[in-house]
Amino acid sequence: MLYREAGQFKTSYAADQAMLPILQDRIGILVILLVAFVGIPVFATDFFMGSIMIPFLVFALAAVGLNILTGYAGQLSLGTGAFMGVGAYSCYKITTLFPDTNIIIAILLSGVFSAIIGVIFGLPSLRIKGLYLAITTLAAQFFLEWCFIRIGWLYNYNDSGAIEVPQRKIFDIAVTGASATPMVRYLVIVSIVAVLSLVAANVLRGRIGRSWMMIRDMDIAAELMGIRPLYAKLSAFAFSSYYCGVAGALMVFMWLGSAEVEAFDINHSFLVLFMVIIGGMGSILGCFLGAAFIWVLPIVMRGLPSLMGLDILAATTEHITNIVIGVLIIFFLIVEPHGLARLWQIGKEKLRSWPFPYASS
């Protein structure tokens, strides 16, 4: 009753093909965008924007990237962290070699390098499949990490071996560097993420996205239907790595401000993978839900004891957070292996058939 499409007739295929064919969804998205672009900047604290929203958006974008590869094209990858690193280091090189480049352009461009590297490490996917492939992507992860350490040129031979974000301005407003306010950084990042998510949704609905899903669901049949595995897989690697690269650049330039190799280590690959799986493989919405869950929950958990006036050691909170997150992950997988996005869908389904408990087949 509450969530009824009844009465919403589509009279053209164009209308039926629209991204959000249902009115309630369109309203929902509008509200979210309003909150994201107006509500949060106006009402939220710096901490909320700087330490919750910005990382959340960075990870959501990375999760979109990984989801394209894993959820849509079916190629499990554990190299997300390194691809984010490629983006970050490229962006650093671009901004330091060509200091006049507009920083937004530099960030968007840095994804291209990540995409190229992604394609190179995607090549084995033509022969290697499934978990075997997942582990060979670790080769990318560790090799690239090693490069970030060994190739001094990448970090301009800094003594510290870290990349540090130079200050860049757009229209005289500092966008990167320490003096850029969280609000400015937040607005930049939320715009980029919104646009890129839209792009991803478009591509995934079209011919190319479909070809990835074909490869994912049944690669042999896809090939027998005229899909060239080479193109499909490599384009998925490229597209996905582009997103990861941009996310990496945003992570360093808009959030951390400086980064060592550890910022791109294997744990980040796992973190993003958590988000994708908890959120729901093969769902853009899921990426956001997953990122929120995995990033925000621990922060909330850490804040809880002091909110409740309990004097618990920070480390104990950390251990308990680990346990709780672990338990929740397993719990969610058991309740709904297809992630939060699917849970959301079931919720909608229930609303749709409400007040009846089940839809009849």
């Binding site: 710096d46 901490f47 700087g50 330490s51 990382p55 330091t96 200091p99 560790f142 090693w146 350490i149 800094n158 003594d159 510290s160 071996g161 870290a162 540090e164 974000v165 130079p166 200050q167 500092a174 560097g177 320490a178 003096s179 959030w255 951390l256 401000g257 400086s258 980064a259 060592e260 190799v261 550890e262 910022a263 280590d265 744990n267 922060i299 850490r302 804040g303 050691l313 920070a314 480390a315 909170t317 950390e318 251990h319 680990n322």
Partner: protein
């Protein structure tokens, strides 16, 4: 926060792969402030609220800790992680909260002109390395020798390399480097095979966490003389050597903070905090361990800075900017140390506008098989060589930051 207290964040890592070092350090840090609160009712009557935030040695969590606590009136941050320090250095001037990376972080931060908001008392890595080399030189000469440098292959471990390269030319020794990846910390077989192949005369180690005991064990395995194997001050704690035990006998390490419980301040901690059950330390025996005392010293410097700031400004409750001034004006000479109950605990530490490392000296300690023993006098660094290099590095750090604000020091 309350009117009568000051807020002192404590970034800790009691979890994760480096928890072994992070835990005693955090204990020492918290216990000293608590001791001041218990014994003296705080500093000049103002209590210090120590608030721990767990970073797990992870830069992102560290930044998050920073962002979530900086609004509480935080006076200074000591992240105990080079990665977090690097992330905080650019933020410090904006938020007006000094970063005190005691003996770690960015060596270049010693140059106060360029880094008004960062401090590395009592010495930068480079100063430390120069002292270690001086020790080697005074124990059989260094010229013509081959020095092996084994280090954790991250920013922290790589920091001293430029100086090492420079000094190898001026002092006439050769260098062989052995990086140890974070993932290889407990799996150093090949590095030590390479050591055996290269046959260096001395080994210097820039290690942390599980890397240290593994390295010492491996060195013993290939029969490298342990009394020619020197760890830096993060590679010479009790927790490192506990796992090695008897077989680590002879191993050397640099240190700048006194060992043991024979200091007035430490006794007070035992009396007012530990024995009262107000400490998180595992057992009273752990008090006085190398890293415990180091964490305590971190607190000592901060407390001293607070006091200096209070005295100069006349305020009882100070803010980050006052704290910065206090840190800069710090003067921990032996007289003051004795007053604090830390006689002979460390060398003089004296800051100034341009000197943010305090010209600290180190001493060398040796593992007896069951405990650390101090075996050398204080060794001052080679300031003449190190200082110009620090300034140069500082220059290059700010060179691509057009809006960076340094300070003029006359």
């Amino acid at each position: 926060q309350a009117e009568d207290s000051m807020y002192m964040p404590s970034m800790t890592y009691r979890t994760g792969p480096f928890a072994g070092g992070g835990t005693p350090f955090a204990d020492g840090y918290a216990d000293y402030f608590n001791m001041l609160n218990e014994r003296d009712g705080g500093i000049n009557g103002v209590k210090i609220v120590v608030d721990e935030c767990e970073t797990a040695y992870n830069t992102q969590k560290g930044v998050e800790c920073y962002e979530s606590t900086k609004g509480n009136g935080a006076l200074a941050y000591s992240p105990l992680s080079t990665g977090i320090t690097l992330a905080l250095i650019p933020k410090a001037p904006v938020d007006q909260i000094p970063v005190f990376s005691m003996g770690y972080g960015l060596s270049a931060a010693a140059a106060g002109e360029q880094f008004p908001w960062a401090f590395v008392y009592p010495a930068s890595y480079w100063s430390q390395l120069s002292s270690i080399l001086k020790y080697i030189d005074s124990n059989g000469g260094i010229e013509g020798k081959k020095i092996g440098f084994i280090y954790l292959d991250v920013g922290y471990g790589k920091e001293p390399i430029p100086l090492l390269d420079q000094l190898s030319e001026s002092m006439g020794f050769s260098v062989a480097k052995f990086p140890v990846g974070v993932k290889e910390m407990q799996n150093q077989g090949s590095q030590w095979l390479n050591v055996r192949k290269e046959r260096p005369d001395w080994m210097i180690m820039w290690g942390w966490g599980a890397m240290n005991p593994t390295a010492i064990k491996e060195a013993a395995k290939i029969r490298f003389p342990l009394d020619r194997f020197i760890g830096n001050w993060w590679a010479g704690s009790h927790s490192d050597l506990k796992a090695v035990g008897e077989s680590g006998k002879g191993y050397l390490a640099a240190n700048f903070s006194g060992i043991g419980q024979d200091f007035g301040a430490v006794q007070d901690i035992l009396k007012y905090v530990v024995n009262e059950g107000k400490s998180k330390v595992g057992s009273p025996d752990d008090v006085g361990n190398v890293l415990y005392n180091r964490g305590m010293f971190n607190a000592v410097v901060l407390a001293e800075a607070i006091k200096v700031a209070q005295d100069t400004t006349g305020k009882t409750i100070i803010d980050g900017a006052d704290m910065r001034d206090g840190l800069e004006a710090i003067n921990l000479d032996q007289a003051r140390l004795t007053e604090l109950g830390l006689e002979g605990f460390t060398g003089d530490v004296q800051g100034s506008c341009s000197d943010h490392e305090g010209n600290g000296s180190i001493f060398i300690q040796q593992w007896s098989g069951s405990d650390w023993e101090k075996i050398s006098d204080l060794i001052p660094p080679m300031t003449d060589v190190v200082r110009p290099m620090l300034e140069e590095a500082a220059e290059s750090y700010v060179s691509d930051k057009p809006d960076w604000k340094g300070q003029a020091c006359s």
